[in-house]
Structure formats: C-alpha cells, structure tokens
C-alpha cells in the first residue's frame, strides 16, 4: 500500500504543468550558474597567473637584495564555481617585503564594481533562493489541496493509517523532487569535467558534501511545505503562509542576525588599528632618530671631529642598521598584538552572528556551504597567517643574502667642507639569482578539516527537518479529513 501511495504521489507531481515549468527553470538556472562559475574561475586563474608572472619578472629585475619585493596571492579555488562565498570580497594579494605588514588588498569587487552592483550568482544562491521557493510551490497544497479536491476522504476509505499516509506523502514529494533535481546536478558536475577544471580528490569529496547539504536544505523546505499544508485548511492560505515563511527564513533572519551581532559587539575599522600602529611607530622612530643623533655626536667626538675612515663608518652604519631592525621588529610585534586583539573581537562577533542567524536553516545552509568549500570567514585569517609566516621566511632569506653581497641599493652621502658633496650608491648592474628564494605556498585544507567546521550546520539542518516533520505528523494525526 505504501508503495502505491508513493507511486501515486510521484505520478501526480510529474504530470503537473507546475512541476514541468519550475523544473525547467531550475535546471536552466543551475547549469547557467555553474557555467558562469566556471568562466569566472577561469578568469581568476588567468589573473592569478598574470600577476604571478609579473611579480616574478619584477623580482628578477632587482639588482640588490633589499629591493626584492614579493607578492603573495590567494590562489583561485575551483570550488568557488559552486560557492562564491567570500572569495570575491576579500583582498586577492598582499605585498611581502621588509617594510609593510601583511595585508590582503584589491578585492575582486573593488577592482570591478560592476560585478558588485549585480553580484555573482552561484549554485549555492540558486539552491538557497530558488530551489527553496520551488520546494514550497510544489508542496504547499500537498494535504489541504487533496482535502479541497475531496481525494483525501477517498484515500482514507481504504485501509491506510494516517501515519503511513503522511510518510508516503513526504517520501513521495521528496523522491519526486530529488530525482529530477539530481539531473541538473549531475549535468553541472559533468560541465566541470568537460571544462577540465582541475579538481583534486579532496575537491570532489567536498563537492559531494556540498551537494549533500544542498539536498538536505531542499528537504527541509519540502517538509516545511507539507507541514504548512497540514496546518491550514485552504490551499490559497497555506501558499501565502509558506511564502511568508520563506521570506522570513531566507531573506530576513540571516541579514538581521548578522546586523544585530554587529550592533552588539563594536569592532573598530582596520584603519583605526593601523593608525594605532603608525602612532606607535612614529614615536619609536622619533626615539630612534634622537638616539642616532646622540650616537653620532659621541662618534664625532671620538674621532676628534675629523672624517673617520670608511671602515669605521661602515661599522657604525651596521650598528645603526641593527638598531633600526630591532625597532622595526618591535613595531611589528606591537602590531601583531593589536591585530590579535582585533581578531578576538571579530571572533566574538562572528560567533554571536552565527548563533543568531542559524535560527534560520537558510543561514545554516549558507555557512555550511561556505565552510565545506573553504570560502568562509576563516579564509581571510588562514591566508593572513600563512602569509605572515611566509613573510618571516622571505625576509630572513633576503637579509641573509644581503649580508653576503655588498650591493644593498643604499645611497651614501658625504658632506665635508673640504671635499664638498659626495653621493655614492651601493648598486650593481647584475641581477640576482632568485632560485633559492622561498615562494608562497597557498594553504590547503583537507576534506576532513573543511567538513568538521560544517558539522554543526549539517546537524542543525537535520534537526530542523525532523522538527518540522514531527510537527506535520502531530498536526495531521489530529486533523479533520472532511
């Protein structure tokens, strides 16, 4: 009997023009989004390579080690085809050198504001907005529609328990929607293969997990539709209620949750933090210059106000250089401390925002999708951390090399009342051998690592679906079938 009920359900869904229309639109949108995603990805790969080549070229033109500056880039992630997440909002690269701190600059959207105006639609967006609407449109009259047609009474004239009927209803609608929707999903995966997107084994696993969470989210809205249709007697009313629920869950709660958290926890702008660093640095530099003056006064006195020989001056300059380096390290450490505090505040806000907005399955889904595909909030910190450790490595190598070679790119100016003005620079025309220079390796997350941060959201989505199903069950057992 259960099987017959499911079969009947499937036949009803597949035969309705509503289903055909919506299914066609959804498939088209999914494939379009993946196609757009692939071409966006290809563009970012191209940009990444161009920038990489330009950086290498610029480095190879340097004639003194301290002139070598590197650029560490965020590597394009093939999974951003499905979930753009924050990859277009976070800076693409950071300058790596002795002077500047690590900072991700030039976001895709700030470079190309026209993309920002209309945003990029990705697969996750289609699932979150369109597929959920689709689920509701199909199931909003699952039960009260049958009551209106009078078929509900007819069914129960057979020996069918209500529990079995509801179960068959849910399972039927679920199968009736999941089976057709897996066609465009499979086709989009095929597109990824056809366009030869370089996906690793881990990437495929992550894609699979992402598709699973998408289907789970879809399931929630299917059951929600059935639940609402068991709640209200008229299908026109249940349609409106379902639509209202969709607006609240998909549009309102995620946004208000984040904004509310933003109001509760004040986090300063990064410019303010950098201002604090600059104030500290300016003080340090002032002290440094004063000490320098004092030292030179002593040195001048020591050499009896005559011009000292070059060797001595060289030694003194090295001393000064070491003092300057120490000061720079001090500034960098101070900034690191500020940054840590800043990050801590941000983490508090992020947790709060997550907690509030996760009331809605749509936010749980979005957060899970981003976590699985490594395009979530941790992306920025992850890159900043690995760029910071690269920066240390890079600078150590440069100073070691600079020590060995004489060419520092520095300029020495001598003024004396006897010889007048003399400017000499420690340059050479030879380019450097950059083979041993460390290159930036973008951080990579394994499948387990990515999945582990999405486990909560998986659980929440499952929980919400079960709760709604229990509600529908409870309601339907008591409802009047007349």
């Amino acid at each position: 009997m259960f099987k017959t009920l499911i079969k009947k359900e499937l036949r009803a869904i597949f035969n309705s023009p509503k289903f055909t229309a919506i299914f066609a639109v959804c498939s088209l949108l999914m494939l379009l989004s993946v196609y757009i995603g692939i071409s966006e990805y290809e563009q970012s790969v191209m940009q990444y390579q161009t920038t990489h080549e330009l950086t290498e070229q610029r480095m190879s033109e340097a004639t003194a080690w301290p002139q070598v500056r590197s650029k560490a880039q965020r590597a394009p992630n093939p999974l951003q085809i499905f979930v753009g997440g924050l990859s277009y909002d976070i800076g693409r690269w950071s300058i790596i050198d002795g002077e500047s701190s690590v900072k991700l600059r030039n976001t895709h959207y700030s470079d190309n504001p026209i993309y920002a105006l209309f945003r990029i639609i990705d697969f996750a967006f289609i699932v979150q907005f369109i597929l959920s609407l689709f689920a509701i449109l199909i199931t909003y009259n699952a039960i009260n529609g049958e009551r209106e047609y009078g078929t509900l009474q007819l069914v129960f004239s057979n020996p069918v328990s209500r529990a079995k009927y509801l179960l068959a209803k849910c399972a039927g609608s679920w199968l009736g929607l999941i089976i057709p929707i897996s066609i465009p999903i499979l086709l989009s995966l095929l597109l990824v293969v056809i366009f030869k997107v370089p996906m690793s084994g881990d990437d495929w696993m992550k894609t699979l997990a992402f598709m699973m969470v998408s289907l789970l989210f879809f399931t929630f809205f299917i059951i929600l539709g059935v639940f609402i249709s068991s709640l209200v007697r008229r299908s026109s009313v249940s349609f409106l209620i379902a639509l209202l629920a969709w607006v609240v869950l998909v549009l309102i709660i995620p946004r208000t949750g984040v904004l509310a958290a933003g109001q509760m926890v004040y986090v300063p702008r990064i410019a303010e933090i950098e201002g604090q660093r600059d104030a500290f640095a300016k003080d340090k530099w002032a002290v440094h210059y004063n000490k320098l003056e004092e030292r030179w006064r002593d040195r001048n006195a020591e050499s009896g106000n005559c011009a000292a020989d070059d060797e001595k001056i060289w030694k003194w300059m090295k001393e000064d250089d070491a003092a300057r380096k120490n000061m720079e390290i001090e500034i960098e450490e101070f900034y690191a401390k500020l940054k840590e505090d800043y990050r801590r505040k941000k983490a508090v806000r992020e947790r709060l925002a997550g907690t509030i907005s996760r009331i809605s399955p749509a936010s749980a889904y979005q957060l899970a999708a981003m976590a699985i595909t490594d395009t979530d909030l941790s992306l920025k910190n992850r890159y900043e951390d690995s760029m910071n450790s690269y920066r240390t490595q890079f600078n150590d190598y440069i100073s070691e090399k600079a020590e060995k070679s004489g060419a520092s790119g520095h300029v020495m100016i001598k003024i004396s009342t006897e010889d007048g003005f003399d400017v000499s620079s420690f340059d050479s025309d030879e380019t450097l051998d950059l083979d041993g220079l460390p290159r930036f390796e973008p951080p990579k997350l394994g499948f387990e690592e990515s999945l582990s941060s999405a486990v909560i959201d998986f659980g929440l989505l499952g929980l919400y679906s079960i709760l709604v199903f229990a509600g529908a069950f409870n309601r339907f057992l008591k409802s009047d079938i007349m």
């Binding site: 023009p17 509503k18 229309a21 919506i22 639109v25 949108l29 379009l32 757009i36 161009t50 920038t51 330009l54 950086t55 610029r58 909002d89 976070i90 800076g91 690269w93 600059r105 959207y109 700030s110 504001p113 026209i114 993309y115 920002a116 105006l117 209309f118 639609i121 026109s236 009313v237 409106l240 639509l243 607006v247 549009l251 309102i252 995620p254 946004r255 208000t256 949750g257 984040v258 904004l259 300063p268 702008r269 410019a271 303010e272 201002g275 604090q276 104030a279 300016k282 006064r297 941000k346 806000r349 936010s363 909030l377 300029v411 003024i415 009342t417 007048g420 003005f421 400017v423 620079s425």
Partner: protein, 471 residues
C-alpha cells in the same frame, strides 16, 4: 461606473487574506530596511569618527610638519548610502595621502568585515528589486484569469461595461492597492530616520523621495506586467508560473548574465597589470634620480648648512619632476584601462537594461550617490584634497615631503625644545557628492525606461483583454 468598479475592486483586495499577508510582510521589510539602514549608518559613523580621531592622534608630538610623511582620509558614511548600498561597501574607503603620487583607496567594508558580505544588507534596492516586485506579481497575477476561474468575470461584464473601462478599473485599483499601503510603511520608515536622528539634509530628503518614486514606478512595471499576462492566460496557476519565470530572469539572471557576457566580449587588462607597469616605471625613475643625485654640486662648500639646504631643494625639485613624469605615465596607462572598462560597462549596462530591475538599480544608486561612479568620484575628490594638502605642506614646512623625497636633516647643537605642531591645522577632507539635480539628470534615462515599460504593459493589457475569451 468606473468609480464603482474601482471601489468594488479595492474592497475586495483590502478584504482579502492575500493582501493582508503580503502587505504585512512587505511593510515589515520596508520598515526593517529603514531601521537597519539607520542603525548601520550610526554604526559606521562611530567607526569613521574613531578612525579619523586616531589619524589625528598619530600626529601628536611631532615637531616638524615635514616629518609627517602621510596620513589617511576616509570616505565618510552617507545616510543615503546606508539605505541604498550600491557599491559603497565594495570599494575602498581609506586613502593614504602623501602629498604626491597616485592615490589608491583600500579597506572596502566587506574586505574589512567579511561577515557582512555573507548575507549583505537589507537595503531599499534589494527590497524594491526582489521583494516589492514579487509582491506586485502576487497582487496582479490572477486579476483577470482568477476572475474568470471564479466565474465573476462573466458576471461583471454582463453589465453594460465596456471592456476598456473594466480593465482600467482593474489597473487603477491594483496600483492603489500596491502603492497606498507601501507609502504608509515608507512614512513609518522615514519617521524612524527622524527619531534615530540620522542627519538628513533637505537635499537628502528630496533624493529619498525620488528614490521612493523610482521604487514605486518599478513595482508598477511588475504589476502591469502581471495583469498583462493574466489577461493572456486562462488559468491563474499558469499565469503565476509565467510571471514568476519572467521575474526570476528579470530580477536575478539578466543583470548578472549581461555583465558576464560583456566581460567576455571586451577584454580589460587587470589592475595588477597596470600596477606592475607603473611600478616598473617608477623604479626606473628612481634609478635615474640616483644618477642625477651623484651629479649634484653645491655652490658653496664652505658652509655645510647652505649645502644641506641646497641639497634638500635639489631633491625636492627632482621629486617634483619625477612626480610629474609619473603622473603623465600613470594617466596614460590608467586611461587605456578606464577606456576599456567604460566600453565594457556600457555594453553590459546596455544588455542588462533589458530588465527593468537594472534600470531601477541604476537609478536608485545614482540618486543615492552609490553608483558605479562612486569609485572615481571619491578618487577625484581625494586628488583635489591631496593638492590642497601639498600646498599646505609647502606653506607650513617649506616643502612637500610626500612621495619618498630624500632629505638631510642637520644636527643642531642648540638644545632648544622645538614647538609641537597643531594637528587641527591640517586641511579637512570634505567629501562632496553630486547634487540631487545632476544625479536626477543622470537617472532620468532609467526612469524613462521604467515609464516606457509601464506604458508598454498597459497597452498590452488593454489589447489582450480586448480580445479575451470570457468562456
């Protein structure tokens, strides 16, 4: 008779549950978006003030204006930008001003606080573009086909009413039912702005009114569209699906897809390429300057003070020359890119304007000053400021120290404590956005498009209903 018909329609609409629920949701969203915009503004204003204060604080204790190498200016948060975000959260807000050289804006809001980028904000552009249009559809999709299904259409036309009058009554009453309750919600929203003391100038209010008119016009486009389609179909479920599909494509797909298509047709060199070209040129200039430096000959080698003074002046001249050359080069390189960019933008907007959603978005962002022009406008304003800052430095410190000018400082033996500078003397960056009139002029094309759409669908409705089969 028309009045009776409209009255009947309105009574029916206002009495229906559909109206109560859709209007309730819409009103909540509109009010919420005003509230969120207001609190968002206060929030970013606090951040802005703190960052500005910190910027002045770092100058405290300096004794020489020339040793102030750089400082930051910020794009001030605008109350209207909080209501219509546009690109304001995506472009850099902080600019380091040195007195010379090219300016780059950094720290976009979303790069600073990616958490807001996940779900974005709830602004009027989004409310109009997505929600309001959806509700306009819900209001109109069954206005003809629904009446036919219920059998009331034949009943109504059994009276001596011409069809044109009937459809006119439908159109007018639906428009009233859509606009009137919305206006109430918007008024409440404006009240929130007043209560929360968001500093709105007279010009801002005028702009807001224009933005609201644009939004309502846009809603009317979808209303007339859905009435037109319901006069084309005979079953309300079909008309709903048809309008919904058009809505999905119009509001979601067309704008994005056309940008993509345009970026495929017109190739624009990436910012990184132009930056690399500029940086190569700049280091070449620095190298040349080193050679020039070694040729420096002081006029008098007896007095070190004069020598140093002459050297500093010499270096400033070199820097000025270098700056000029660099500017010329950068201008040329940037122009190439911005020409291509403009070409691409033109193409994508021309394609995207097929959808009324694009026209609406362009019009409201232009009015609010958060359109695609914002990035260049901010940079121009900052360049203007940099000039006045350079002049100020020349006056205060005798030279413009920006752009890596090498300078020698003499050690003085007199131990006199020099006076500290007063940071409040620094010129203030006054950001001016385009006036409401010039913005309205730019937006008028898109407003015209919206009106054309409405007229098109109006005629369509009359035509389709004129030959509608009542059976």
């Amino acid at each position: 008779m028309l009045k009776v018909l409209i009255e009947k329609e309105l009574r029916e609409v206002f009495g229906s549950l559909k109206f109560t629920i859709t209007f309730g949701a819409c009103a909540i969203l509109v009010i919420l978006s005003f509230y969120m915009g207001a609190s968002n503004y206060s929030f970013s204003h606090a951040q802005y003030e703190a960052a500005k204060a910190q910027n002045l604080k770092q100058m405290e204790g300096l004794t020489d204006w020339a040793s102030l190498q750089n400082h930051r200016i910020f794009l001030p948060p605008q109350p209207l930008a909080a209501l219509v975000n546009g690109v304001s959260n995506d472009i850099g807000r902080t600019i380091m001003v040195e007195g010379r050289g090219e300016l780059t804006a950094e720290d976009s809001r979303y790069n600073d606080d990616p958490i807001f980028a996940i779900f974005r904000f709830l602004d009027l552009d989004f409310i109009f573009g997505t929600i309001l249009s959806l509700f306009a559809i819900l209001l109109g999709y069954n206005s003809i086909s629904g009446e036919k299904e219920q059998g009331t259409l034949r009943l109504a036309l059994a009276n001596a009413i011409p069809r044109t009058r009937y459809i006119l009554a439908k159109l007018i009453s639906s428009a009233i039912a859509l606009v009137l309750p919305l206006l109430i919600a918007i008024l409440i929203g404006c009240l929130i702005l007043v209560i929360l003391r968001i500093p709105f100038s007279g010009e801002d209010w005028l702009t807001l009114i224009l933005i609201i008119i644009t939004g309502l016009l846009y809603a009317c486009v979808f209303l007339t569209l859905s009435i037109f389609i319901s006069a084309l179909t005979h079953r309300s479920s079909n008309s709903f699906l048809l309008v919904l599909t058009i809505w999905i494509f119009g509001a979601l797909i067309v704008p994005r897809a056309s940008v993509l298509l345009a970026s495929r047709t017109v190739k624009v060199p990436s910012v990184d390429e132009t930056t690399a070209q500029k940086s190569r040129y700049s280091s070449q200039l620095f190298k040349e300057d080193k050679t020039k430096m070694s040729q420096f000959k002081p006029s008098d080698i007896d007095d070190p003070e004069i020598m140093v003074d002459e050297f500093n002046r010499f270096m400033e001249n070199i820097a000025d020359e270098r700056d000029e050359k660099m500017n010329r080069f950068a201008e040329r390189i940037n122009e190439e890119r911005s020409n291509k960019l403009r070409e691409r933008q033109k193409l994508s907007l021309a394609l995207a304007r097929i959808s009324p959603t694009t026209s609406m978005t362009l019009a409201v962002t232009t009015l609010a000053g958060t359109s695609l022009m914002l990035k260049n406008h901010y940079r121009d304003e900052a360049a203007r400021y940099q000039k006045s800052y350079g002049d100020f430095m020349k006056e205060k410190a005798g030279m413009n120290p920006g752009g890596h000018v090498m300078r020698i400082k003499m050690m003085m033996d007199d131990e006199e404590e020099p006076e500290q500078i007063n940071p409040s003397e620094l010129p203030v960056f006054n950001y001016k956005k385009a006036s409401v009139f010039s913005a309205a002029k730019t937006a008028s094309l898109d407003l015209l498009f919206l009106v054309i759409y409405i007229l098109l669908f109006l005629t369509g409705s009359f035509w389709a209903f004129g030959k509608y089969d009542l059976r």
